[in-house]
């Protein structure tokens, strides 16, 4: 258990800046997720914390102890940092049995053999692999190998657990199951977890706090899952956390119009002054009606997906997506077909300054 403090860290490869002047603090015992698109430098940050890379500038400390500092040239090797790590490709050693894989960290720590056996079997049981300890990795499924990697990372009770997209190679069901299990384990063991992923669903489901990183390795927002989801600091964070609709809105005098059209904007007003705004909303925020108030729209595509109906709607030249529960569509006669006219109101709108779509931010 430890807090992690990253101060002004920079890292470049062959002249290309991956991270610059990045500061971040993880609290003791929290599950912290670093969320960002692939290639944004989040794995680099993880590897800096693990000690596989050394920072070009800044310092990193774990549990109050400086493990890497560019100023002093200090760089504690990974084996001395007392952490557990799970890799994207599991990295389960193919020549060792499940037991030997999991026991390896304890063996290196010269644990006395009785307690080594006990703790190893405990860790194997913890991840739900009891009875499979004699198997070789080649006899296990991908999900089981992932659990071996997890048990191996947990067995020596590390103060910090680093997870590098560990669920990426699993199928959807298994991914969901493992996600819950990691969360449950973290609650039981009370360790600090740093989880790196580009999957917003996992990030929202597992974290106490999320840091959203952009393409250039800069942190856009740090906060609790509902905070970053409901109150995104900017359009990048908003679009990264789910399917996002953006509707450009212009101000002329007192009136607001959609895009370049003559259609009036109806609904919640932007809290800022200025000529150009963008309304951001999720497909689930869209409320449809056959007629009445609201923005006028034309259904361009209708897909029935079982639990919900997915519509592509043209609002004054801008295409937006809407998702409605099927039962609601049936109950309220909202099963549209292509070409139908409809009225749109929005349950929640995030206002962003300027024309986000035209600026190419999305």
């Amino acid at each position: 258990m430890a807090n992690v403090r990253i101060e002004g860290v920079g890292k470049q490869y062959a002249g290309h800046k991956v991270l610059s002047d990045l500061s971040l603090e993880l609290n003791d015992g929290e599950c912290f997720t670093l969320l960002g698109p692939s290639g944004c430098g989040k794995t680099v940050l993880l590897r800096l914390i693990a000690g596989f890379e050394a920072p070009d500038s800044g310092s990193i400390s774990i549990g109050g102890e400086v493990v890497a500092s560019a100023a002093t040239g200090q760089n504690l090797p990974p084996d001395k940092r007392g952490l557990g790590m799970v890799f994207q490709d599991y990295a389960v050693w193919p020549h060792m049995s499940v037991f030997d894989n999991v026991a390896y960290p304890l063996k290196l720590a010269r644990t006395e053999s009785g307690s080594l056996r006990e703790r190893t079997l405990q860790a194997i049981e913890l991840v739900g692999l009891a009875g499979l300890d004699a198997r070789l990795p080649s006899q296990l499924s991908g999900g089981q190998q992932q659990r071996v990697a997890l048990a191996r990372a947990l067995v020596s009770k590390p103060r910090l657990l680093l997870l590098d997209e560990p669920l990426n190679n699993l199928d959807a069901n298994l991914r969901e199951e493992m996600r819950f299990e990691i969360k449950a384990l973290q609650r039981t063991l009370g360790i600090t977890i740093l989880y790196v992923t580009h999957d917003q669903e996992i990030a929202l489901g597992i974290s106490d706090r999320i840091a959203v990183m952009d393409q250039d390795g800069a942190l856009r927002q740090i906060g609790a899952p509902e905070e970053v989801y409901e109150r995104p600091s900017d359009d990048f964070v908003f679009s990264f956390l789910g399917i996002a609709n953006f509707l450009p809105v212009r101000r002329e005098g007192e009136a607001l119009y959609i895009g370049e059209s003559a259609a009036r904007w109806v609904g919640q007003l932007p809290d800022k002054t200025g000529g150009k705004h963008t309304a951001g909303f999720r497909p689930s925020d869209v409320i449809l009606a056959r007629e009445g108030d609201g923005l006028p729209g034309v259904i361009r595509r209708a897909s029935f997906l079982g639990a919900q109906v997915d519509y592509l709607i043209d609002i004054a030249g801008t295409l937006v997506r809407a998702a409605l529960p099927s039962h609601e569509c049936l109950a309220r006669n909202l099963l549209f077909v292509e070409g139908d006219h409809c009225r749109i109101s929005l349950a929640g709108v995030q206002w962003f300054a300027g024309d986000v779509v035209a600026a190419g931010n999305v």
Partner: protein
């Protein structure tokens, strides 16, 4: 890392420097000395002299012979190899699996021992077959003279055709049968399909195998030395041997040898480049992936005659020469009839337990093979590790230097080693066993690099990082994770070196001294000295050792796979 890494001299840099130093000393210096000696005369660069050497009737003839022989062997070997490959993969020939294995046996047998056997059978006056025709059937002259271009080409074909056989049978097995089936549905008959679809698709494999035969035949010493030299047929390697060995190392003969070696290197490089190009062609991609079950041609009435042909071929090329070696090895005197009272075990006993020359040779070959295999295996692991796993600048040099000997014929390596280690640079290893060891290391390094790199590629970086994160130091991670995972590659490298080194002739024949004969050299020189019976007996023992070794490696490898 950045600027600090460039200045730091840590473990990666140390390993890198050691690897480069080893390869420069063992590989680069000898090669450069050959070119230097060939082109540098009286203190300046001289091409005119090189051309003069090439125009000398003796060298010119050797170049021409190398060309005639290798082209001849390539043509016959390709026809034989392709035909048998098609027969065992695409027809309903009986016992196809067994036949396929039998056709690979010639690969195990050293060609020069085969040449020895054929000399005993078909030399114009003393050959047993020729004598049978003359003495028993009353022929006027020999039915076939093995001391001829045709003789040499036939013998080399017997031992080199598997190059094409392996490539083509592999391609035919992996070829997607739907390619042929769709042609069939389009209305083509089997003949048209074979001509228009099958042959064009396997052509790259045929050509690539053919070029391997050419490469090997061009650089081949043994068969020509046994069958050609008697009647003045020299190719490049045998002339290099002649120049170095018989002319007591005069400057002119060394120069001729280096010029010949240069020609050989350039030709070999050209052949390999061509092969690479053919293999990397897009067309070859069609033959890839899993094995399918291709349509089989019904041989009908030809089934049994073709089986008989295969059996006859195997009997004629494998059983007959091998039996001849063992029988002649058991004769009291060469030339006697094979009757019970003429046979004896004394020869075998003599060479195994009494005669120092042969006992030395066996001991030398085994100890040289073992040490070369061990040294090259370990050096190969380290060098491959630097090439595959480490971020060090300039590791392309390592790759180039390590794979270079792959394209350099054995006689060239031996010549380079002579130039480098005969006292010119303060160290004289000539006539010692060490010079042979150095040459073997240079010759077989590429094998080790290939096997070890392949094994190391499988060891993903994250496996080592996972160990580091578990608390292992770099040394512990290497010991517990990397070494166990590359061990199969190391074992493979060991045998890939040990077995060929055991039967090696081309390199050691240029380097041996009075007490440093290898098995190959001993067999060859005994034969030259007219000790045919002992030569045959030693060849028989060599065959037993080789076959035992091959069986052992097969056991080991298949045991590993099933575990």
């Amino acid at each position: 890392m950045g600027h600090r890494a460039a200045l730091r001299f840590g473990t990666p840099e140390l390993l890198f420097s050691l690897s480069v130093a080893l390869l420069v000393i063992v590989v680069a210096v000898p090669m450069l000395l050959i070119f230097f000696n060939a082109f540098w005369v009286d203190g300046h660069f001289n091409v005119a002299d090189v051309i003069k050497v090439l125009q000398h009737p003796e060298t010119y003839k050797a170049l021409l012979n190398s060309l005639i022989l290798s082209v001849g062997v390539t043509i016959t070997g390709t026809i034989v190899g392709t035909f048998f490959a098609w027969l065992v993969t695409r027809t309903d020939l009986p016992f196809k699996k067994t036949m396929k294995l039998l056709f690979l046996v010639p690969f195990m047998l050293p060609a020069f021992i085969g040449a020895l056997a054929w000399k005993m059978l078909l030399s114009p006056r003393a050959g047993y077959i020729n004598r049978f025709f003359m003495d028993v059937l009353g022929f006027d002259g020999p039915v076939f003279n093995i001391y001829s271009y045709a003789g040499i080409i036939l013998v080399e074909t017997m031992y080199l055709f598997p190059f094409v056989f392996i490539q083509v049978s592999g391609a035919l097995e992996r070829m997607d049968p739907t390619l042929e089936e769709s042609a069939r549905i389009s209305g083509a008959d089997l003949f048209t399909i074979t001509r228009k679809i099958t042959i064009p698709l396997v052509m790259p494999s045929i050509l690539s195998g053919a070029l391997l035969i050419m490469l090997y035949s061009m650089a081949h010493f043994g068969t020509v030395a046994v069958l050609g030299v008697e009647t003045g047929i020299y190719n490049i390697p045998t002339l290099i041997y002649e120049k170095i060995h018989q002319s007591a190392g005069s400057f002119a003969s060394i120069r001729t040898a280096t010029v010949l070696a240069t020609v050989l290197v350039i030709t070999a490089a050209l052949i390999l480049w061509l092969q690479n190009r053919i293999l990397s062609k897009g067309r070859y991609q069609i033959i890839a992936g899993k094995s399918f079950r291709p349509a089989e041609l019904k041989l009908r009435g030809l089934r049994i005659p073709l089986l008989v042909l295969c059996i006859a071929y195997i009997g004629f090329t494998i059983v007959l020469p091998t039996a001849t070696i063992f029988m002649v090895g058991g004769l009291k005197t060469y030339g006697l009839q094979f009757t019970a009272e003429n046979m004896t075990w004394v020869n075998y006993k003599h060479i195994l337990f009494e005669w120092d020359l042969t006992r030395d040779a066996i001991w030398n070959s085994i100890s040289l093979g073992l040490s070369a295999a061990l040294i090259t295996m370990f050096a190969g692991v380290i060098i491959s590790y630097v090439i595959v796993k480490m971020r060090v600048r300039g590791k392309g040099i390592l790759e180039f230097l390590g794979m270079l000997p792959f394209s350099v014929p054995g006689s060239v390596i031996a010549l380079g080693v002579i130039l480098a280690w005969s006292g010119k640079f303060g160290i004289n290893l000539y006539n010692t066993v060490w010079i042979i060891l150095i040459a073997y290391i240079a010759r077989y390094m590429a094998f080790s690099l290939k096997a070890n790199s392949a094994a190391l590629e499988q060891v993903h970086d994250s496996l080592v990082e996972a160990a580091r994160a578990s608390g292992a130091t770099m040394a512990q991670a290497l010991r517990d994770i990397v070494v166990p995972l590359v061990r199969p590659g190391m074992v493979a490298a060991f045998f890939l070196i040990f077995l060929p080194a055991l039967r090696e002739l081309t390199v050691s024949v240029l380097l041996y001294g009075p007490t440093t004969r290898t098995i190959g050299v001993a067999i060859y020189t005994l034969n030259e000295d007219g000790e045919t019976v002992y030569s045959a007996a030693l060849a028989g023992i060599a065959l037993i050792i080789i076959v035992l070794g091959e069986v052992l490696i097969k056991r080991l490898v298949s045991g590993k796979n099933s575990a």
